[in-house]
Structures are given as structure tokens and as C-alpha cells.
Symmetry: C2
Subunit: 504 residues, 2 copies
Amino acid sequence: MAAAVDEVRDGLMEDWNILENVFKLLQREDTFCADPQQWDKQKIVPFLQPEKLKELINLKVRETEKCTLAEIEALCQQVIHYSVKTSHGRFHNQLFGQLDPFGLAGAVITEAMNGSSYTYEIAPVFSLIETEIISTVSKLAGYKEGDGIFAPGGSTSNMYGIVLARYKIAPEVKTSGMFGMQPLVLFTSDQSHYSFMKAANWLGLGSDNCVSVKTNQLGQMQMDDLEAKILEAKARGGRPFFVNCTAGTTVLGAFDDINGAADVAERHGLWLHVDACLGGASLLSHKHRSLIAGLERANSFAWNPHKTLGAPMQCSLFLTRETGRLLERCNSTEAHYLFQQDKFYDVSYDTGNKSVQCGRKIDAFKFWLMLKARGYGKYGLLVDHAIGMSRLLEDKIRKRSDRYRLVLQKHEYSNVCFWFIPKAMRVSSKEETPEWWERLYTVAPKIKEQMTHNGTLMIGYSPLKAHNLGNFFRMVLTCFPILKSEELDFILDEIERLGDKIDL
Amino acid sequence: MAAAVDEVRDGLMEDWNILENVFKLLQREDTFCADPQQWDKQKIVPFLQPEKLKELINLKVRETEKCTLAEIEALCQQVIHYSVKTSHGRFHNQLFGQLDPFGLAGAVITEAMNGSSYTYEIAPVFSLIETEIISTVSKLAGYKEGDGIFAPGGSTSNMYGIVLARYKIAPEVKTSGMFGMQPLVLFTSDQSHYSFMKAANWLGLGSDNCVSVKTNQLGQMQMDDLEAKILEAKARGGRPFFVNCTAGTTVLGAFDDINGAADVAERHGLWLHVDACLGGASLLSHKHRSLIAGLERANSFAWNPHKTLGAPMQCSLFLTRETGRLLERCNSTEAHYLFQQDKFYDVSYDTGNKSVQCGRKIDAFKFWLMLKARGYGKYGLLVDHAIGMSRLLEDKIRKRSDRYRLVLQKHEYSNVCFWFIPKAMRVSSKEETPEWWERLYTVAPKIKEQMTHNGTLMIGYSPLKAHNLGNFFRMVLTCFPILKSEELDFILDEIERLGDKIDL
């Protein structure tokens, strides 16, 4: 045993060479596929079915195994090869796109420094950086003062909002729980993110108490329905406490009317939270800031710079305008081994008492480095560009009206939702029977399959059950890649090329 | 505006050069401070008070700012310089130590590929890798079948356990919440991690229903007190549903008797969870596997390879032996835009329905790469070595009995807790009055201050309120750095050097 341990110890300085090999891998053309000149030649993913991929990569982990550096490097190369190149300029499958190089640079440093965001002691610089981001974004949001925390994703950030709202109206939950309480009810639109349902489950509220509010055709919450649902909940014996507005819904990219919701929330004494995970980037834009008007009236909001802006996963911010250390009072416990009060520095810089986590990955630095490198105004312009490109894509789709149909004539944000009509289904408008539509709803999944097998383009599709709509494509334009008009033509051409070949 | 966007686009390929600069920074001696030859010369942290550090680093984020690559690099260098070097071999402040190079290599690739663990579609290789880890660790735990998920930290993994237990006995909580229910009560020792209190708050159970069970002098949960507390809770009208055993407590490194707790849990029909965030590494050791005996009887457990093993933050695994897709049934919602069932591959590889998150950072790959590089047996030997060194440190402390006092004569794991007695306080044993002890409790914080200012050593300290003990040092030996005996002497010598100089 001692010999084996010595061997590992003695080999350690050599093991560090793996980093250089990995750096070389990362500098190869085909790792990120970030260069527009190469997109035509590079596959987004060489898709293989799970069983096939399992055969191909030596996935098995064993008790005794010792790979050489070269073998490890080969394995890394294989993993990279068969992974989806999310930085390929034709990957539009999610709400995120290409990485910002400065974001990745920051993320790599974070990994290397391997800190944890609980105390100033262990994360001096990173704690100050987190505070700087919180303060900057608070100002952008129109908060006089603001408090907040980076969370491991938007779902958690939204949960922070619900928990904080609950603590504000019923601090006794922290000690005695919700048993025997009048049911607490939260409200969110039928187009909002599923994290509110997941939160209702985890936080013990139950999905019945996560009330779905109707949306209009654009996907925006209907304020009259919100008010009606609040009154209904009260009539049923519930205690409304929280309403969520979505700033940028997942599918349509719709923005709820925050001022309208704030009026309703104020009238009924509810906490107003804004899920701006997607649409928070509009805070940086002079042109589109109005999309999120009224945000300063929200008690809290969530924003994910890892969507659209090009920050690496995970980068999610929860902010609240509540002061008096509400966030800390809500989430703190007495952990004496970590948050000693007899320290030799100002412990108000220790962030751990605000967090539901203990160890917490440093997610602020990569975002800070991006903002330092370009200034946040530049990201605002990139948001404007992405939204501008979305409107252009709508125009282009309208010009191909025989082959394409828009779900909305004008989307609010950088999402564009549409159906493609394959050659065999192009009929006169009166022949567009309910059966024809049902058939059309099967088209997107089939084209998606072709896209993935070809590796030339990746765009998501989705139904919109609340609006009784079947599968359509959801194209999301993100800050990176910074697309040119020709690239939009490619997207439509490629869908046609693949779509005319599918079996219906 | 268009010009500014073109400028960003045109500069993008050049921006990627930042990566090469960052790679160079990371290859410098003073970034990780991983080379034992250099420890004497390198500070773990050049500590500055927050106000001073704020003056020194240009933290401010602005709307219009454009740093050159060289300026960004300089900023990164500054951030690295003033950060704590957690990979310095004399950083023993937390439950983690030096990074394993293979872990870092994996983390860097993960950042670069920027995937998300919700579907096979977007994370084909990483999904299979997560499955492989879950299956391997399930077998090591003695589970016939196992299910699980990587979570963003141990606190979340523990929450998964509580939520799953609650779903099993009261699935109706998912829909109707906990209002009007008989209070659900969970049990965990007074030495267990504070995440159970935090979870009780978030999940709506309340801290009163998170019952603290007494520990013996070694810090292990007392089974008779557990049984008594369960009966008391029932008598008060509560419904006991969950008991947590800790495998490796935060301060003393104590292991609860899992078999004993399993007997009690079975008798009362409770879910047994094991918080093995710290001690889970013993699964890999032949010599110390018995510490965690009985784990196969636990319904679930949490383990953080980012502690002790050298995987970068965050790397936390939640596992359950419950089958029948319980985890998925507990956490799923119908998210049609992401988890379409009309896909062209086996959607059972999509992991998102098991998760409380939506986007989820890929945390499995770095750990997998470590295991591929060395085989998990090698890590078992490193665990043995770390524990062996802890026993050696105890011996060395006993040999300096005039200056040191052990909290426990023999700790169970690789934590060693002790007081240092400064020269001015060395008295005969009958002079060790309560006042003397109170004074001794002020010593560790003062030495810690000196350590930090000197940058020569970082060791945490803690009181143990439940055992009426004041501040003592908690030294944690981790798999990396792989220390030699001389290094332990350095630790004790350095504490003496600094400790004899403090003002009492």
C-alpha cells in the first residue's frame, strides 16, 4: 500500500501535465467549433444511439486501472468528439448558445482556484466580486438597495424567491413548519417555467397551491385572470402570498406585464417575484429595457447570465430589494464551525448565511470577467442584435409563407416559433383541416431527427398545450454566436432540405 | 450600434486567445502552489482586509469599458494572486484540500463543452458517464439496484433524501402540500451538518421538526436517545418519517452506527438516509470500509467526491436504493418543451425528470476522469494514507503533551481536533480551572489570525457547543496533498511558532 501511495505522490507533478494536453485539445478547431468559417464542415454532434455509444467509449470504471497520460488524452478527445458542440454557431437547441471566450476564461480560473463562496476567509476576492455584481445588477433593476446571491441555476433562484416570500409573511415556518397552516398559494402563468411546480413540491406547498394563470395569445399573463384566481383561492380558504411574472417565457419568449401584476400584488399584499432567467438580459439594453419595465416594483427576481449572454453554465443570480438582512435571517442557521463571529475581519463579507447551500461554487467571477472585458453596454447591444435578428427571421419566414407558418406574427424577444410545411402537405388554406394540423404537428420531431443525424443544425421543438398547439420549432437567438442575415437563410434552407425528405 | 456589434463579432476569434493566456497563467508555479518543493516560499494567501483589497483591485463594473487582452490577463493574475491557494499543501482549512490534476482536467473540459445534464440529446456522452458513476457507486454501497443524480452540493443531496422520503410516505404532498398534515418529523444528531436545519426550513418542515439526537463523546449518535426522541415526537402528535446518520461529521469526523440506526428506523418505519458527504470516500477503502458498514440498509445517501478526494467543487452524488423510478416520480413535472416523448432515442436516458433543477451542470465527468486515470482502488489507498497520517498526527500531538491537548484520543476518520496551549498558559493540571479553559478557547482564533496574516498555514477552528467545548483546531487530512510525516511536524511547529507570540 505504502508503495502505491508513494507512486501516486511521486507521479503527481507529472500528472499535472494532463492540463497542458487538455489545453491543447481545447485549442483545436473542432472542440468548440466557434469559427464561422468552419461551420459548414463541422458536425454539431456525430449522433449515436446510447447502445452504440456505450460500445464505442470505454465507459467502465474499475478498481484497478491505470491509464497513461496519452490514454487519458485519447479518452478526453473521444468525449469531446461525441459531445454536442454547444458553441457551434448552428446550435440553437436551448436558451443558451455559444460561449463568450471571456466567460470560459473566467470559468477555467474558477475551476483551477477551487474556492467556495461561504466566507471572506476562503474566498476574499471572489466574495467582493459577487458583491460587486449584486450591487451593479440591483442598480440596473432600479433597486435602491439590493441583496442577493448566486445560485446553481434558475430553478434554485426561483425557489429562493418563494422561500423568502414565505419567510416574510410567515417567519414561523422556519421553526414550526407549515403543518396546520392555512394553505399558502402562489400564482404563475400557464407559460411560466416548470420550476415553480417543482418548487411547490419541494417546498411542501403542493402543485394544487401553485395556481396556473391564463395567458393571452402572446403568452402573457392575463391580469384579470390573476385577480380572479386570487379571489378564488381566498374563497377556497387559501392564503395567496406570491405571484410570479415571467420576463421571457421558455417557449414564446413572452414578457408578463410587471406593472400590472405589481398593482394586483399590492392590492392583495402578495410578494412579487419576476422570473427573468431568460429575459433579464434586457436590463442591459437601452432599446429593450422597457420589456422588463416595473422590475423595480418586484420584491425579487432571478436572472441567468448563462442563458443568451454566453456565460458558462452555471451562472444564475437571485436578487431582492428587501433589506434588513432578510435573506440572511431567512436562511441562516448557527453553524459555529464555519461562521465564527470571533474572526479578525468584518464577517458581514461572509455570504454563507444567505445561502441554502454550504459549499457553493464560485459563479460570479466568470460573469464579472465578461463585464470587465467588454462593459455591460456591449452585451446590451448584443441583446439588441439578437432581437433584431429574430424580427428579421420572422420576415424571412413570412416571405416563405407557402412553406412556413409563424406561431406569432411578432415575438417579443429573441425566440421565434414556427411550423415548417413539407412539400407533400402544401395545400390551399381551406384544406387546412384539423387532421392536416395534427399531421403538421408530427413534422418537427421528424425533421429534428434528421437534423441530429446530419449534425448540421440543432433547433428545439415544443408543443404549447395551454394554447392547444402541437409541435413547432422554437428558434432562440442568443448574444453569441453573433449571426449574420445569411445564417438565417441557411437555417430555413436546411430545414427545407431535410424536411422535404421526411416520411409523413 | 451595428458597428459596435460588428466590432465584437470581428474580434471574437481574437478574443479566444484569452484562453491561451489563461492557460499560461494556470501553468505558473504560483497559481496552484501544488509543488511541495515550493511550499516554504509560497504564501497560501496574501491576506488583505476587505477595504484594502477593494482599493487594490479594480472591481467596478461599468457600462462602457473595454479592456485589452493584456489588461484582462493582468486582472486575472491579480485575482489569482489575492485568492486563497486551496491546492497549496498547507491549506487544511476545509474538508477539501489539493485538487487532483485529473479532476481539474475534467472540470476544464466540462466548462469548455458547456453542456447541461437534462437530456441525452444535449449531453449524450455525459449522460452515460453519470449513469456509469451511479451504477458503480451503487454497487460499492451494496445496493442491488440504485438510482441517483449529481446535485450542486451536499446540502442539496441531503434535501433530495428528505424530499424522496416524504414522497414515499406521503405522495399527496406533491399535489396538496403539507398544510393540515400531521407534523412530519426528522431526526439527526447534534453533530450532523447544518444542511438538515436549512432543509427543514426550505422544505416547510420547520426546525422544531428537525429533532436533534444526542451524541456520545466520540460524536456518534446515541441510539437510545434516537429511539426516545422518536417516541417523544409521536407522543407530541408528530409523524416521524426520516432519520439521518452521519458518516463523517464535520468537526470530529465521527461515524454514526448505521446498522443500529437501521434497526431503529425499521422498527418505526422510517426512511434511513446517510449523510456520507465527508465519509463516503471510505467506500473505496478495503481497510476502512467498515466505518460505513450498514450503508446497504440505508434508503439513500449523499457523498461529495469534492471533499477529501480532490475532485473540484462541485461534485456531489445523491443515491437511493429505491427502484420503480421513485426519484423520477417524485421530481418530475410535465415539461413538454424539453422532455418530449416523441423522440427518436430511448428517453429513459434523459435525466432531467429526476432533478429539481432544469439546467444542471455536468459534475460527473471530472470524477469519472479521475477514476479512469487511477482506478478507484488507488483513491481507497489515498484514503487509508490520509487516515493513517491522522493517527500519526495524534501520536505527535501526544508527544507534545505539555503544549497540545487532543479533543479525542483517537478520531475515527482523518479529522484531528486539538487545542494548543501557549507558553504563558502551561500550568500543572490542577491549575486548569474553568477560567483557564475559557482562556484557552480564545487561543485558536488568535493563532488563526496570525496564520492567515503569515500565509504559512491554514487550519480551521471550531467550538463544539453540543459538548460544551470551546474553540479548538480541526485539522483535516485529505487524499491530496499526500503528506509525509515531516509535514505534520511542520504544522505543529508552525502553530507553536505563531502561538507563542499571541497576546492573551
